[in-house]
């Protein structure tokens, strides 16, 4: 262990130690609309968190905050025990070194339409991390191969199906070796028959122990991939537990109501 420079900070450091992500007392509003009213949430390295909740409840906002894309009103976020996002002097401070360790995949893939698939993958590592092009390309080809997309390396995004595009988007995020990967309804825009190929890729990452935070409406997939399910509503975490608890046997009335409604709609 490194010698401690500030022994008196030991208490807080132990508190957040071992937690990959810790969100503490998060407050967020858009104008008058209060989205989070003191939301707290922690995540271990082995966790795959699935976040469920009512539409407009702030699931996307939560992921965007963790990605460092949003200002917050109050609270703080720690990554790997280090302060990542906090309020300081009336402003949101984001540690960009830590931000680089988080990756995100969006609902609409948002590939770069002017670049072919290989360049989509290599742009960030080559231009922002200084990775030599040959090295980045070798890594990109290995990832594409793994996701069954090697033949598409020289195609453009517009020539791919939705499922292929979303797999490329996941590969692109993986190029930067994130410690935490965020997925915001990544299969919602897909035709039903394409959902499985994207979910299969996510399951494969799960099997390899990739920490993930996932927002999805697919309860069946949620049950399969989650190590924990978080039900967030009304600006706070209402219930947080293993999928067998939150999805099958919720302890809080509000969760039960939500889950029953979602499953009822399914049938």
């Amino acid at each position: 262990m490194r010698p401690r420079l500030f022994p008196w900070r030991k208490a807080t450091e132990t508190m957040v130690q071992n937690k990959l992500l810790k969100i503490h007392n998060l407050h967020k509003s858009y104008g008058d609309l209060e989205i989070f009213k003191g939301l707290s949430l922690a995540m271990d390295r082995g966790d795959r968190l699935v976040i469920i909740g009512p539409s407009g409840g702030g699931k996307s906002t939560l992921l965007r905050i963790v990605m460092g894309l949003e200002d917050i009103v109050g609270g703080d976020v720690y990554l790997d025990g280090k302060p990542y996002i906090l309020r300081d002097g009336g402003k949101t401070k984001i540690d960009h070194k830590l931000q680089a360790r988080v990756g995100m995949v969006f609902q609409h893939y948002t590939l770069f339409p002017h670049l072919d698939i290989l360049r989509n993958l290599t742009l960030a590592p080559v231009k922002t991390r200084g990775t030599p092009r040959a090295e980045a390309e070798a890594k990109a080809m290995a990832l594409l191969d793994r996701f069954g997309l090697a033949a598409k390396a020289r195609s453009y995004p517009s020539q791919l199906s939705g499922g292929q595009k979303q797999r490329v988007a996941i590969a692109r995020a993986l190029m930067l070796d994130p410690d935490l990967l965020l997925f915001d309804e990544v299969t919602s825009a897909l035709d039903p028959e394409l959902v499985a190929e994207v979910e299969a890729v996510m399951m494969e990452l799960a099997d390899q122990g990739m920490p993930m935070m996932i927002v999805t409406h697919d309860m069946h997939f949620a049950r399969n991939i989650a190590s924990r399910v978080v039900f967030a509503a009304g600006g706070v975490v209402v219930e947080d537990g293993p999928p067998e608890q939150v999805l099958d046997n919720p302890q809080v009335a509000r969760t039960r109501e939500f889950v029953e409604r979602v499953f009822a709609r399914k049938k």
Binding site: M67, G68, H96, P113, A124, K127, T128
Partner: protein
């Protein structure tokens, strides 16, 4: 006097020289105009109010007034302002470039606006920010989206360039009308001039449609 379609052919070499001047001027002004237009489109989004105000005033002024009057302003007023005769070539280049800059700045503004918000979020998530974001993501997409309209702008500029004959530049229009006056054959000569303009502009306008379709297909993600 009959319509004699053979007359313009006697002067084909002079007309060709005129066409060369028109094309050269169009290309020079287009190049300057595109650079100016891009800078102006950026200035119009500046956080500094004076920069924004000057850029907006410039664009609206040159878009909202006849090009012929702009040409006269520059031709007659500029010498008074700077106290020297810039010569009619410089004046012509200056006025057409300013006009091209104003119209292409609108083209760039629309192209920049059409880049979806998600592209910016994605880049931030990937750590692509600032100048890198502009150079590797925003600019190429904006240019791609702007190409069809820029080509239309180029065709428009080529036709507008006929106005510089009014200040004595020996372009296609000027040479055509001079010969028309000298020979007393305005119908034949001006029809020939129109056909030459059309022969250059028409294929370009057709190409614009094709390129546009291709680019839209590429950008449809």
């Amino acid at each position: 006097m009959h319509f004699d379609p053979t007359i313009p052919f006697k002067y084909w070499d002079a007309l060709l020289i005129g066409l060369g001047t028109s094309l050269r001027l169009t290309l020079i002004c287009l190049a300057i105009g595109i650079a100016l237009g891009f800078v102006t489109s950026q200035a119009r989004q500046s956080r500094l109010l004076p920069v924004r105000a000057v850029a907006t005033f410039y664009v609206e002024l040159f878009r909202g007034t006849p090009v012929l009057i702009q040409l006269f302003w520059i031709f007659y007023c500029l010498p008074m302002l700077i106290g020297a005769e810039p010569g009619n070539f410089i004046s012509a280049v200056l006025s057409l470039s300013l006009y091209a800059g104003a119209i292409t700045s609108e083209t760039f503004r629309a192209a920049l606006k059409s880049i979806p918000r998600e592209q910016y979020d994605t880049c931030r998530a990937l750590g692509i920010t600032g100048l890198r974001l502009a150079i590797w993501v925003v600019l190429p997409q904006a240019l791609l989206r702007a190409i069809p309209t820029l080509l239309s702008n180029a065709v428009a500029l080529f036709k507008e360039s006929a106005l510089i004959s009014a200040v004595g530049m020996a372009d296609l229009m000027f040479i055509g009308s001079s010969i028309a006056n000298r020979t007393g054959r305005p119908v034949e000569m001006l029809t020939a001039v129109a056909i030459i303009y059309f022969t250059v502009a028409f294929p370009l306008t057709r190409i614009v449609g094709r390129i546009e379709a291709r680019i839209l297909r590429r950008l449809a993600v």
